[in-house]
Symmetry: C2
Subunit: 365 residues, 2 copies
DNA sequence: TTGTCGTGAGTAAACGTTTACTGCAAGGCG
DNA sequence: CGCCTTGCAGTAAACGTTTACTCACGACAA
C-alpha cells in the first residue's frame, strides 16, 4: 500500500507538456484516481463520488494550481461558455446599456460576453451571426432592428434556422419577424405614449424627427406618432428625416428655425433630441417656453440636459436575454416578452401657454 | 473507376452525427481525399496540395455547406480566435471607444472581441484575467489604470507571469508597472499641456477636479496639473475631490459656488466637466466669461457642450493593441508606445479678461 | 541501373476534456 | 446461499481538428 501511491502512467496519463500547463491527468495522477473520477469532481457533475475521494482530488487540483481547459470542455460539450451580443455600435449608449445587461448576468455564471458591432449593416450582422454559430456560442443576442427591404434578410432567416437546429440559444431584442424568442419594447406604443403626453400638455403643432431611414424600429415609432396625433385629430405631417445621432437632430432643428416653430418636438432618440435642443437654443429659441423637446431612451446624458424622454429598459433587455440564454428552463420557442416603458418628465417640456389662450377662445366662442 | 467514387469509411471517417453538423471528415469523404488533405485545404495552410485536389475539396465543402468547428481547431492550436478587453465599464464612452478600436481590428481577421467590465474592481479584473487565460484567448487587452495600494496587485502580477508563459498576448493600455507591452498616453503630460494652455489664456486661479481616488491615472494627472502650475509660479492647491462621472463634477462646482470663483476649472474627465459646466451655469455663472472650463477625453458629447478638452486617442489605443495581438510580428516583450494627445480649444474657455487688467497693472507698476 | 530529390497525399497521434459502459464490492432479500 | 441492487470508480471512446511522419512515384543525375 505504502509507496505505491503513484501508479505508473496509464495510457492517457501524461505529465505536464511543453506548455507547462497542468492537465486533469496530472491532477488525477496526484490524487491517485482515474481521469474520469477527477473529471467528475472538477466539473461538478452530479455523480456519486465518495466525499474522501472528492476531497483528495480537490486538494491535488489546488496543489497543482489546476485550471481546466475550457476549450477541451467546450469540444465535448459542443458549447463554449460565451454569449454573443450583436449590436449596432458599442459606442452608442443604447447598445452599451444592453451589452452591460448581458455582461452582468454572464459574469455571474462565468460566461464571457462577445461584442459584435455591425454598424447596422445587415451583411456584417449575418457575418457575425455565422461566426458566433461557428464559435458554438451558448447564446446569441441580436439587438438591432431590421431593414425590411434588405436582401440579406433571406440569409438571416437561414441562419436563424441553423441556430434553432443547433444548441445555441438565440434571442432577438427587437421584432425581427423570425421564429425566435423575443424580448422587446412596443415601439409603436413608445411614441404613442410620448405624443399623448405632449398633447396632454396642450401642444398641438408637434414635429417628429424620424429615426434611421428604413429601420423597422423607426417605421414603428413613426407609426405610433402618427396614430397618436390622428386619435387627437391633429396633423401629423410635420416630420423631419432623421437618424439616431446628434447631427440629424441638428439638421432638423436648423430647418425648424427657418419656418414657423412647432409647439413641441419629439426626436426618435435622445441624441437627436440633444441636437435639436442645442441647435434651437443657439438659434435663440427658449426651451421649453417656446418649444418643448422630448427624446426617447433616457440615456445617461438626458438628465444632464434635463431632457424629457421615454425611458427604455435597455439594461433589462440585455439582462433578461442573458438570463434566458444561461438559464436552465427548457427552450421556449414561442417565448416573447414586451417590457414596459414610461415617460420621464423633465425640464425641456412644459405646459403650452398658448393652449390656455386656445382654451379661453373655446370658452368664449 | 466509375461507381467507386465514394470509398468505404476509413477509421476516423464518420457521417454526420446527431447534431447534423457536417464535419471535415464528410468533406474529405465526398472529395475522395484523406482528412489530412481536406484539413490542409480548408485551413489555408501553406502546404503543397495539387490545384485539382484543392478545388475538389473546396467544391465538396461548399456542397455540404461545411463550417469548420472553431473549438476543435482551437484545441489543437491551443488558442481561440478571441481577444479579451478588460475595461472599467463599457457604458463609459472612454472604454467604449477603446473596445471599438479593438473590435474593428478583430473583425477584419475573424477574431471575436470579449468585453469584460470590472467596474474598476481589482478583484473582478483578476477574475476576468483568469477566465480569459483559461479560455485561451489570443490576446488580452487591459485598459484600466491600477490602484497602487490594492492588495490584489500581487495576484495580478502572477497572472501577468502566467500570461507571459502562455501563448496569449497581453497588452496594457495604461502604465501598470508590469512586464508587458504597453500602449499608453502620458497622463502627466495630458494635464500639464492643458494647464499650460489655460495659463496661456491668462488664467491664474485654476481649480482642478481630481479623477477617481487612488487610481494611478488620477495620481499622474494630478501631478501634471501641479507641475504645470508650479512652473508658472502659481498656486496648485485649489483641488476638489472628484471622479470620472458627472456627479463629482456637480459636487465640485457646488463647492466652488460657495466661495470665490476660480478663473478656470480643469476636470479629470469630460463627464466631470459636464457636471461642472451645467452646475455653474445653473448657479448663474457665465461660461466662459466668468469661468473657463476644460475636460479630458474629447468624447462624443464634448462637441455638444462646446467643451474645450484634451483629445485622448482612445480608439487608436484599442486598435493598436488589437493589431499587435493579431499581428505576425514576433512577441516584443519591451514593446512600449506613447501616443500623443492635443488640446481641442472650444467655447468653454476664453481669454481671461481680468488678465488684461493685470497686464495693465504690471505695465503701470 | 541506382540513388536522390521533390511533389502530393495518407496514417495516426495528439489536443484535454466528458461520459457511456463496465466492473467490483457490499449489503439486502428471498 | 445465490441474486439483485446500489454506490463508487475505472476504461475507453468520443469531440473535430491539426500536423509530424511516412510513403509512393516520377524525374533526373551519376
Amino acid at each position: 500500500m505504502a509507496g505505491r501511491e503513484n501508479r505508473e502512467a496509464r495510457p492517457g496519463t501524461r505529465r505536464r507538456g511543453p506548455g507547462g500547463k497542468v492537465a486533469l491527468a496530472d491532477v488525477a495522477e496526484r490524487a491517485g484516481v482515474s481521469l474520469a473520477t477527477a473529471s467528475r469532481v472538477m466539473s461538478g457533475a452530479a455523480y456519486p463520488v465518495a466525499e474522501a475521494t472528492r476531497e483528495r482530488v480537490r486538494q491535488a487540483a489546488s496543489d497543482l494550481a489546476y485550471a481546466p481547459n475550457m476549450i477541451a470542455r467546450a469540444l465535448v460539450r459542443r458549447m463554449t461558455n460565451t454569449i454573443g451580443v450583436v449590436i449596432g455600435d458599442i459606442t452608442d449608449s443604447y447598445f452599451a446599456e444592453i451589452a452591460r445587461g448581458v455582461e452582468d448576468q454572464a459574469y455571474r455564471r462565468d460566461f464571457l460576453t462577445i461584442i459584435c458591432n455591425t454598424d447596422r449593416s445587415p451583411a456584417v450582422e449575418n457575418a457575425y451571426f455565422r461566426l458566433l454559430l461557428d464559435h458554438h456560442a451558448a447564446g446569441i443576442v441580436i439587438a438591432g432592428g431590421s431593414f425590411p427591404q434588405a436582401p440579406e434578410n433571406e440569409a438571416f432567416r437561414e441562419l436563424v434556422q441553423e441556430a434553432s437546429r443547433s444548441a445555441t440559444r438565440l434571442v432577438v431584442l427587437s421584432d425581427r419577424d423570425v421564429e425566435a424568442p423575443a424580448i422587446c419594447v412596443d415601439d409603436r406604443m413608445v411614441t404613442m405614449d410620448l405624443t399623448r403626453y405632449l398633447i396632454g400638455l396642450g401642444h398641438r403643432r408637434i414635429a417628429y424627427v424620424e429615426g434611421l431611414t428604413g429601420l423597422s424600429t423607426s417605421l414603428r415609432r413613426g407609426e405610433g406618432f402618427a396614430r397618436a396625433m390622428a386619435e387627437a385629430g391633429l396633423d401629423a405631417s410635420l416630420r423631419y428625416p432623421g437618424g439616431f445621432g446628434i447631427e440629424p437632430g441638428r439638421a432638423a432643428a436648423a430647418l425648424m428655425l427657418r419656418n414657423e416653430l412647432p409647439d413641441a418636438v419629439i426626436a426618435a432618440s435622445d441624441e437627436a433630441a440633444f441636437g435639436v435642443l442645442t441647435t434651437l437654443q443657439q438659434g435663440g429659441v427658449e426651451i421649453p417656453r417656446q418649444v418643448s423637446v422630448a427624446g426617447i431612451d433616457d440615456n445617461r446624458h438626458a438628465q444632464l440636459f434635463n431632457l424629457t424622454t421615454m425611458r427604455l429598459p435597455t439594461y433589462d433587455l440585455g439582462a433578461m436575454a442573458a438570463k434566458w440564454v444561461i438559464g436552465d428552463e427548457p427552450s421556449a420557442p414561442d417565448y416573447r416578452v414586451t417590457l414596459p416603458c414610461r415617460v420621464i418628465p423633465r425640464g425641456t417640456t412644459s405646459w403650452n401657454a398658448s393652449a390656455d389662450k386656445r382654451k379661453e377662445d373655446l370658452r368664449a366662442g
